[in-house]
Structure formats: C-alpha cells, structure tokens
Symmetry: C2
Subunit: 144 residues, 2 copies
Amino acid sequence: MCRKMSHIEAASRLMEKGIRPSPQRIAVWEYVRANPIHPTAERIYTALASDMPSLSKTTVYNSLKQLVAAGFLNTVNIEDDELRYDGNLEEHYHFKCLQCGEIFDIPAEHHIVMTGKLQDFKIQRIQTNMWGICCACNVPYGSE
Amino acid sequence: MCRKMSHIEAASRLMEKGIRPSPQRIAVWEYVRANPIHPTAERIYTALASDMPSLSKTTVYNSLKQLVAAGFLNTVNIEDDELRYDGNLEEHYHFKCLQCGEIFDIPAEHHIVMTGKLQDFKIQRIQTNMWGICCACNVPYGSE
DNA sequence: GTTCCTGCAAAAGCTTTGCAGAAGA
DNA sequence: TCTTCTGCAAAGCTTTTGCAGGAAC
C-alpha cells in the first residue's frame, strides 16, 4: 500500500515543500503512513504522546493541516462527526462497515466518465465513500 | 431534481415511519428539499427562524437526525469542518469548486464495479465527492 | 538576529444532553 | 393519562487562536 520511507527521505520531501522537518511533523506523517486505520487527530496524538511526552495536540493539528496542504496526506470524510486522515495517496475507495465499524481501503477499479455537465469542470480530487456490511460481518446465518 | 411534495404528503410519509409530523420537522425537511444548496444545520435554522421565531437549534438537529435515519435526507461529507444535508435522494455526485466554493450536483453516470475485495461486501450507500474548479471559474484568460 | 515552530491555556464553534413544560394520541 | 416533542440552558468535544519560550537557520 504505502511504500516504506526513511526518516531522511521524509525530511527531504518536507524540505522540498518548504516545511521544516521537525521530529513532531515527521512522527505524525509516519504514524499515519504506517497505520492505515484512517486515524483521527485524537488517535494520532494519543499514539505518539507515549513516545513524545511533550507533544501537544496543537502540534498534531498543525502538522496534519500542513501535511494535507502539501499533498502528503488526505482527509477522509466518511464519518459525520469526525475527520480522519489517510497516508495512502493511491486512488482508492473507502468502505465503512456499519456493523463492526471498520474502514476498509478498496482499490479503485473505475473512472468517472466526464460527460455532460462535468466536461468543463477541472477535477482535482475525487473521494468515494461506501457504507454497508463488510465480508466478515456479512456471514449468512448458520454458516459459521 | 426533487419532486414537489405537499405538506400532507410529507406528513403521511413521516407517519409511515412512525415519526410525528410536527410543523418543525416538516419545515426542516421541506427547506432542505426546496433549497438544493446542501445547507448546514446552522443555515437551516437561520432560514427557518424568521418564520418560526420559537424554533430552536436543538429541534433542527433532532429533526435532521431523524430525517437522515428515516432515509428522507442524506448527509454530505464534502467539507472537513461542517456537515451538510441533501434532500436529493437520486444517485449523484457532489462537486465542490475550490474557487467559488459552490457545491454542484452531478448526475451519476457510472456504477462501481463490484469485483475482488468488494464481492462479499454488501454496499448500502455510496457517496462520491469531487473537488476542483467549476465551469464558471474555469475560464481561460482573455476569453471573458 | 530573525524566522519558524512548539506547546500551554483559553477561546470558539458545533453538536448533544438534561430537563421542564407543552402538544398530541 | 401517557407518550412524544419542543426549546432553553448547560455541557461536551473537536479544533483554532494567542502568546511566550525555544529551536533552527
């Protein structure tokens, strides 16, 4: 899914965008990349705070905002009440199981056909979210 | 887009779902249906409060939640920091222009191909959001 | 030395909850 | 009468802002 990236490479990619590669920013980015669970800011903060006791939530929010603006992370708007983050930049869908709550990455296998109204639109980003029952929860009665 | 609906029809459709057709709930539903601008709860409240001075935001939130649960409205998760509502239940995409900020409804012209991982998933809802520059803002220099 | 960054505290904004009174069945 | 609903006030949460100290260049 996400190619592994060294601290040094992460730092240089941040610098290319004019972002100072602070340990906090690198930690946030690497956490989101290494944990494809579409974490919230809160979750990222909690996970990193044990190794970085001085880390503040403000810094997590600041870092996320910059990483999204720089195109290194995407936001995932699949929940009505919280924002999630995704380090997987390849085109893919999100599927949220309404039973177990897990959010799955689904490889994209179609493209929007740009006809009619869309012909004069310049599309820069597409996000497709799906809700339903995942294969693990969608087990017919009696078959397990 | 949305077929016109009388108060009486709205009331009976609410009752079918066991929801008491209070004037507030009908007003919220009709406002969202009649104003395909994907309004936020705040906007709905402000718009209705002039005609219904006693209306409270709590009631708007309660009504929206029930109308979404009953399948009469959908949430639109195209903004990172606010939830919007949509009374158009036909399959369509949303396109947000990053320049003028407007959100357009785009008729759906494709279907997700359910292959691979998705074969055992039960999809109940799909939402596709796009961001970019709309046709009005996407005017080449010198042509206007 | 100047700019940028972090982190604390406080503020802001959106949404939910508790509850009392009103409306409807 | 009993249940449901409304609306006020307060609380809860997430996110942003102000600012002082510190780090990087």
